[in-house]
Amino acid sequence: MQGVIGAFAELDSAVHAIEDLRKQNFGDITVYTPTPRHELEEAMQPPKSPVRRFTLVGGLLGVTFGYWIPIWISDYWPLVVGGKPVASWVPYTIIGFELMVLIGSLSTVFGMFAVSRIPRLTLTVGYDGRFSHGDYGIWVPAGPDRMAAAADLLRKHGALEVRNER
């Protein structure tokens, strides 16, 4: 992948650069930030995270499984006491609840990994260790014809360093 990476020390400079890049139709830019900042998120205007769907499906599967197991066990070896129903849903709610939380949580983490595309064996082109430390990075994928324009725009907004990467 070809493109330009710019490092910014200041948040406002990075935000203005993102807004300008979006205006200039530089497509799929990536922002690196040491901590989540709502200013960057508003500038990027990303779609909603689909992680919640994993949570919902995992939670529903968990609660279903959590009720099914004790009901099946009770029916498999029925111990009828005083003519009461063999499966007693009230105490089984505890197992249903615990498995809802367990499977829902694990599927949330699995969903986060899947949509974030981690684990990743190698770091992406353009990534720099300073982006976890204190600086903000903006990666602009661009062909050779637009690289210079992207680099100029990043410099105009106060980038500390601009590099072409491939």
């Binding site: 807004e19 690196y32 989540p36 939380v101 981690i118």
Partner: protein, 489 residues
């Protein structure tokens, strides 16, 4: 158009903002920038002589516990002081004690996260680690309590060779589900929160072997906007799951007692009583750990007196809930008209076990009332001493629940006594060694505070000049406010 933190022109005559006084725009005035966060907190990872000494003591305590357990396996459970009618003793007491300690971590990291309580930010990582290690410690006790510990896997719900499953209506089966879920979810929550911080360690590490380990543990995290977007949602949902889980786990532990027809146990107040007690004891242990840490590593500008003050208010509140639960128990016994129940409670407070009940009441209900005083809430020495009393009081709370009930059941011929032996005390000491060994190992490998979340509350660098309150950080030229640093010796 993105919303930026609005720049404010500086006014020359404006009074200088003193550090360590949180403002709406700046919760940690003593912290200058993101680089300082990394430098100060990663600086704590360097092993010191004090750390080696503490680890040595923890391992020694653990070895004492292991030796006592070996002796008990050889001699049988009688070596632990069990004899009818008291067949639950120090091990079950300590099991409940450690599960309780494990509650504050998830409370602080999940519930206070949902409530947007700012004071959690700098203490939650320690509290989460404490949770994971406390539950790991608690999980040992049902096994230590077994006569044949190598058969521990019989506790796990699976069918035997006659295809008979464990009874899902039994509180012990609920316990297995609850504790294993809590351990798994707490450890997952802890690890997920660590991923961005391990990436920081990876990027700053110079040793190639450690760098590779951190790279693997950070899963190739690179701080991109996409990763943060999914991370923050996942973290929110995990917190939402963990919140009712915190309340459920100790409720389930309380069912071990409340489902039994034993005087003093068979009460509907047990679940909320146990949950409040667990949170109370967990906060006590957070103070026991965090106060020496902030002093030893000079992290007073991260864990501020304001944060401790807020946590102390939570401690006071839970202490009062626990006190109310104690009184409710007495009232229910009084109004029940049940003579056995009434005699049991009389025996608890004025009879055979009065000494333990009064230790519990004084440590858990009387001493924490001192936290009504703001001066004492902001005095770290007092908070530390109080936390030790709370740990003691909460262990005795479980003693008071377990032992007096079993030793004073329905018929006088059933009544008896209980005296823990050196094996019990050694294993109790060993559990503290086990817990602190893991904690000490953790604090030298991974950051004890959440780097990314602390950076979130530090005002970011701006190109435009901004609020002067956020710019004044020169600690050398400024005087610390006496109220905000009182007790901060």
């Amino acid at each position: 158009m993105a919303t930026l933190v609005q720049p404010r022109p500086s006014e020359p005559n404006e009074p200088v903002q003193r550090p360590n006084i949180a403002t709406a725009g700046n919760r940690l005035p003593g912290v200058r920038d993101y680089e300082q966060v990394d430098r100060d907190i990663i600086g704590t990872l360097r092993p010191t002589l004090g750390w080696f000494a503490a680890l040595g003591i923890a391992v020694l305590c653990l070895l004492i516990g292991i030796s006592a357990w070996t002796y008990q396996i050889h001699e049988g459970l009688g070596a632990a002081g069990y004899h009818p009618p008291v067949m639950w003793g120090v091990y079950i007491i300590t099991f409940v004690f450690w599960v309780g300690i494990g509650h504050a971590g998830t409370l602080i990291s999940a519930i206070l996260y949902l409530f947007r309580a700012g004071f959690r930010t700098t203490i939650y990582r320690c509290a989460e680690a404490m949770t994971v290690f406390a539950v790991m410690t608690a999980g040992l006790f049902p096994i230590l309590h077994l006569g044949r510990p190598w058969k521990f896997f019989w506790l796990i719900p699976y069918p035997n060779w006659r295809l008979i499953w464990p009874n899902p209506k039994s509180p012990l089966v609920w316990d297995v589900f609850a504790i294993l879920t809590y351990l798994t979810v707490s450890a997952t929550f802890f690890y997920v929160g660590l991923i961005p911080d391990i990436a920081v360690l990876r990027d700053q590490e110079t040793n190639p072997v450690r760098k590779r380990i951190f790279a693997a543990l950070s899963l190739g995290w690179r701080n991109s906007d996409r990763e943060w977007r999914h991370f923050t949602r996942a973290y929110l949902f995990l917190a939402a799951f963990a919140t009712p889980l915190v309340l459920s786990v100790h409720s389930v532990v309380s069912f071990d007692f409340a489902m039994a027809l034993t005087p003093g146990w068979h009460a509907t107040v047990f679940p909320p009583y146990f949950v409040a007690g667990a949170i109370f004891s967990g906060i006590g242990m957070v103070f026991t750990i965090i106060i020496p840490l902030r002093k030893y590593f000079g992290l007073q500008h991260f864990v501020t007196i304001n944060d401790l003050d807020a946590a102390a208010k939570l401690c006071l509140f839970t202490s009062m809930v626990v006190g109310l639960a104690y009184l409710t128990e007495f009232q229910v016994a009084w109004m029940s008209g049940n003579r056995v129940e009434q005699e049991y409670f009389w025996n608890r407070v004025f009879g055979q076990w009065a000494w333990s009940a009064w230790i519990m009441l004084i440590c858990n209900c009387v001493l924490p009332l001192s936290l009504f005083s703001q001066k004492l809430r902001r005095n770290t020495t007092w908070l530390f001493i109080l936390s030790l009393f709370i740990n003691l009081g909460m262990w005795f709370e479980r003693f008071v629940i377990v032992v007096p009930s079993l030793s004073h059941e329905f018929e006088p011929w059933q009544w008896g006594g209980y005296a823990p032996t050196w094996v019990d005390y050694s294993i109790l000491l060993g559990s503290f060694g086990w817990f602190f060994m893991w904690f000490l190992l953790f604090m030298k490998q991974l950051p004890i505070m959440a780097l990314a979340e602390i950076k979130e509350i530090i005002p970011p660098k701006m190109r435009e000049p901004h609020d002067p309150a956020e710019r004044v950080h020169d600690l050398d030229t400024l005087t610390l406010d006496p109220i905000n640093t009182a007790g901060d010796d």
